[in-house]
């Protein structure tokens, strides 16, 4: 058996190292190391509770608004506030903008460039994929970057800037829109729709969102131009539907009042946040398994048998996968359900679920924008209690994000965060059960001479990891 250390993984958000044990050309065990520790959970105690709105978005530059939304939700829970309809819709729009922009960034800049690697130069699709998706130089980046930047004008309008906004508040949004703002918002969304329909899908968003079976997908893609069709060609040729299966247990906090919260374990069930526990047995952390509301963050850099700064969240003791695939499994998207029923959760299913969300959510954003009502309230207000606790569960692009906050004497007593990639890239737990990526990598065939097997990179990037959120 040999052990190979893979890193740096670029085109993921943050730094990542993967250790693979390999015997007879197969991965026998994988260990995922999140190598950066900053200590946000140690910084927050003692601060004014509303200071969290400034500090936690800065955990992550790619999930910044999601971190904002989770903090606002936890404070809202603490304060017993319900935002007015405008405030709620504004939060949907701003979080959806970030999540969809992240899906776009993942597909075009992080994930697809791996198929432009020379290792694939004999594949029939290589020339087309290389010219479209090669990192920095490919034609897709030149199309996608302006479209992404213009879509982000929504943030300029509704959140001041991105990343790191303070617009989202416990009681709604600090940015009230007027008629002229809403008209510009509608125009921004039309522009983004135009880009997706022309370049990404080669068809209307409604048609893509309505693809309801593998057979329908096969019929639709026949002769289709566009970036999704190109991905499907590559995916079929490389059998990406057979690659990267993890536990097929999924967890979602629910998003936009559109996708429900829940857990999937052979069937959909209710989410019980009380079933979440963080284990630190293989992290450079001290302590016992604890629910996040009581969680503890104390580093122990010399701990034996530890190999990452990442804690291991478990749901009822189980490893869960989170992300767009989990959201669409729980939302009951028929194509995604069928894909997982036939092949299990795979590289292909994860990527397809993200692209489907672009097609599903943009039309919803258009509806939310038109439902905004100038002159009606945007933000409600309440006193902060001196004592209490709150929980904020939201969905970032890459999955379930939770904040657990408690306040004593008017100051933060404890603040714990479980980010999507904390779930997906967790290390082993006390029972020795590996995390989702670790399970997805185990059993993979790897070439003997390849120092950084490209299939491993596909699996890793298929989760759209955010390493700066993972450990925070």
């Amino acid at each position: 058996m040999t052990t190979r250390i893979l890193g740096p993984f670029n085109r993921v958000e943050g730094d990542l190292e993967v250790h693979l044990d390999i015997a007879d050309g197969r991965v026998t065990a994988a260990r995922v190391n999140s190598p950066l520790y900053r200590g946000f959970e140690e910084m927050l105690p003692g601060k004014h509770p509303l200071d969290a709105l400034v500090i936690v978005p800065r955990i992550c530059g790619i999930c910044s608004v999601s971190q904002s939304a989770a903090a606002a939700a936890a404070l809202r829970d603490l304060m017993g506030l319900t935002p007015p309809p405008n405030g709620r819709l504004a939060e949907y729009l701003v979080t959806a903008c970030e999540n969809l922009a992240d899906h776009l960034t993942h597909f075009y800049l992080f994930f697809m460039p791996d198929f432009a690697r020379l290792v694939y130069h004999e594949r029939p699709w290589f020339a087309a994929v290389e010219s479209r998706f090669k990192a920095v130089a490919g034609s897709a980046a030149a199309d996608m970057l302006p479209a992404r930047a213009e879509f982000m004008h929504l943030m300029g309008l509704m959140a001041g800037k991105w990343p790191h906004t303070l617009s989202l508040q416990p009681g709604g949004t600090a940015r009230a829109l007027e008629q002229a703002d809403i008209l510009r918002l509608v125009t921004v969304l039309r522009g983004f729709r135009r880009f997706l329909e022309r370049h990404t899908f080669g068809d209307s968003l409604e048609t893509v969102a309505g693809l309801d079976s593998l057979a329908a997908l096969d019929r639709w893609r026949d002769g289709r131009r566009g970036d999704l069709a190109m991905f499907l060609t590559v995916s079929d040729d490389l059998a990406l539907h057979d690659l990267g299966r993890a536990t097929d247990r999924f967890l979602s906090h629910g998003a936009y009042g559109l996708f429900p919260a829940g857990v999937w374990d052979g069937g959909a069930g209710e989410l019980d946040p009380g079933a979440i526990v963080e284990d630190v047995s293989h992290a450079w952390m001290a302590g016992d398994p604890l629910p996040p509301a009581e969680g503890l963050t104390r580093t122990l850099p010399d701990k034996a048998d530890a190999y990452t700064w990442c804690k291991a969240p478990r749901y009822g003791g189980q490893v869960m996968e989170t992300g767009a695939l989990a959201r669409q499994m729980l939302a009951g998207h028929p194509l995604i359900r069928e894909l997982v029923a036939v092949h299990g959760g795979s590289v292909q299913a994860r990527v397809l679920a993200r692209l489907l969300e672009l097609a599903i959510v943009v039309p919803e954003m258009e509806r939310w924008a038109r439902a905004l009502t100038p002159g009606e309230p945007w933000c409600y207000h309440a006193e902060l209690p001196d004592e209490g606790s709150g929980m904020g569960l939201v969905e970032a692009a890459r999955g379930a994000l939770g904040h657990w906050l408690s306040v004593r004497h008017g100051r933060i007593r404890n603040y714990q965060i479980i980010a999507p990639t904390t779930w997906n890239f967790s290390p082993r737990d006390a029972a020795g059960v590996p995390g989702a990526l670790e399970q997805a990598l185990a059993g993979m065939a790897v070439e003997a001479g390849d120092p950084m097997p490209v299939a491993v990179q596909h699996v890793v990037r298929s989760f759209d990891p955010c390493m700066v959120c993972t450990v925070h």
Binding site: L6, G7, P8, N10, R11, E13, D15, E17, P35, L36, Y37, R38, G39, M43, L44, P45, H48, L50, L53, V54, I55, R58, I59, G61, I62, S64, F110, P113, A116, A135, V136, A137, A141, A142, L145, A149, M152, M155, G156, L157, M158, G160, K161, W162, H164, T165, L166, S167, G172, T173, A174, R175, A176, P301, W378, C379, H381, P451, M452, V468
Partner: protein
């Protein structure tokens, strides 16, 4: 003199990656087009480049050993020196070496060194709350010169670390600085006292603030979503913070003030520990401690009292509403 294209290497450490994500918001032209047109070649960037693993490490090693010319080193994120000075809070993956030590080697070879973002410049948000990770900036630790590289450090060009501070940085601040370097139009005279590029740091966030009429009359917001000036109650430091956020604008037409929230002075050293809740203005005897830059206190107090008493009803009422409740009167006599 180096020849074009200039080789640029980008590293990320104790930060959030937000300055890179902000950079992707660059428009007209987009990021890759601007770099190409400026004659800047991206040797490697952790979020954007093709090369992974050993291929990427080869590029880093070639720069560190002087086999590859390193014209511009950009570091995003603070340097994690903890625990106990070991740098183990960020070991660069695949190398078993602290990022701290990679940055020391690479900075010694670079013709220019840019700290991209307030974390890389001064420690930033990562150095807040007791600084559990031992985060420092490249050449500053908060407002104190030093940091990882020390006060004497000069890049091969002779310049100190260029602190493109901001949390995050505006894409224009980074790209204007890179373009000025590429055009050989950037000298020590282009740096302010914290070594920030003066092209954005010679301005105040207050310049171009859309709430200016409220500021003039000291008609103040009292709660989130109010339209009034946020200096008196809401913790806004726009009259003191160095940046051109309200004239350059973000994501189209945005800025913090336009987004309905106070400036937290994210381009300044130690913004992360203001010594008061971010969203509250500290006051003594009802007067904000942090007065507008260059404004004598006695005049500020006198003018504030006068302008408050002169505040039109329209401005006073709109200041505490989330939309215009009293519109400017329409005069029927023609404007003179």
């Amino acid at each position: 003199m180096p020849t074009n294209p200039l080789n640029l290497l980008w590293l990320q450490s104790g930060g959030c990656g937000g300055c890179t994500l902000s950079l992707l918001n660059a428009e007209q032209p987009h990021l890759f087009a601007l770099l190409e047109e400026a004659g800047i070649h991206l040797l490697w960037h952790p979020s954007l480049s093709q090369e992974s693993g050993a291929e990427a490490l080869d590029i880093l090693a070639a720069c560190a050993e002087g086999r590859e010319r390193l014209d511009i080193l950009c570091v995003e994120g603070s340097i994690m020196t903890g625990p106990h000075g070991t740098g183990r809070f960020h070991m660069l993956s695949g190398t078993g070496r602290p990022m701290m030590s990679w940055v020391l080697d690479l900075a010694a070879r670079a013709r220019q060194v840019l700290a991209v973002g307030t974390c890389a410049a001064f420690g930033g948000i990562t150095a807040g709350g007791g600084n559990p990770g031992g985060a420092v900036g490249l050449q500053y630790d908060g407002e104190h010169v030093g940091g990882l590289l020390g006060p004497q450090f000069r890049a091969a060009s002779g310049l100190p670390v260029i602190n493109v501070a901001g949390c995050p940085t505006h894409p224009g601040w980074v790209l204007d600085t890179l373009l000025a370097l590429a055009l050989r139009r950037f000298t020590e005279n282009d740096l302010d006292p914290y070594n920030r590029p003066r092209l954005y740091a010679d301005h105040l966030v207050h310049h171009g603030c859309p709430r200016n009429e409220f500021y003039e009359f000291k008609a103040s917001a009292e709660k989130a979503s109010d339209l009034g000036c946020m200096m008196e109650n809401m913790g806004c430091k726009g009259t003191q913070a160095h940046a051109d956020c309200n004239t350059r604008l973000w994501n189209g037409n945005g800025s913090c003030l336009r987004g309905g929230y106070a400036c937290v002075s994210c381009t300044e050293p130690r913004f992360e520990e203001p010594g008061h809740p971010f969203a509250e203005t500290p006051k003594v005897a009802g007067i904000p401690i942090g007065l507008p830059t260059d404004m004598p206190k006695a005049w500020f107090v006198a003018l504030a009292a006068l302008s408050k008493s002169a505040t039109p009803k329209r401005v006073r009422e709109n200041a505490v509403a989330d939309h215009t409740v009293v519109v400017p009167v329409v005069r029927k006599t023609g404007l003179k």
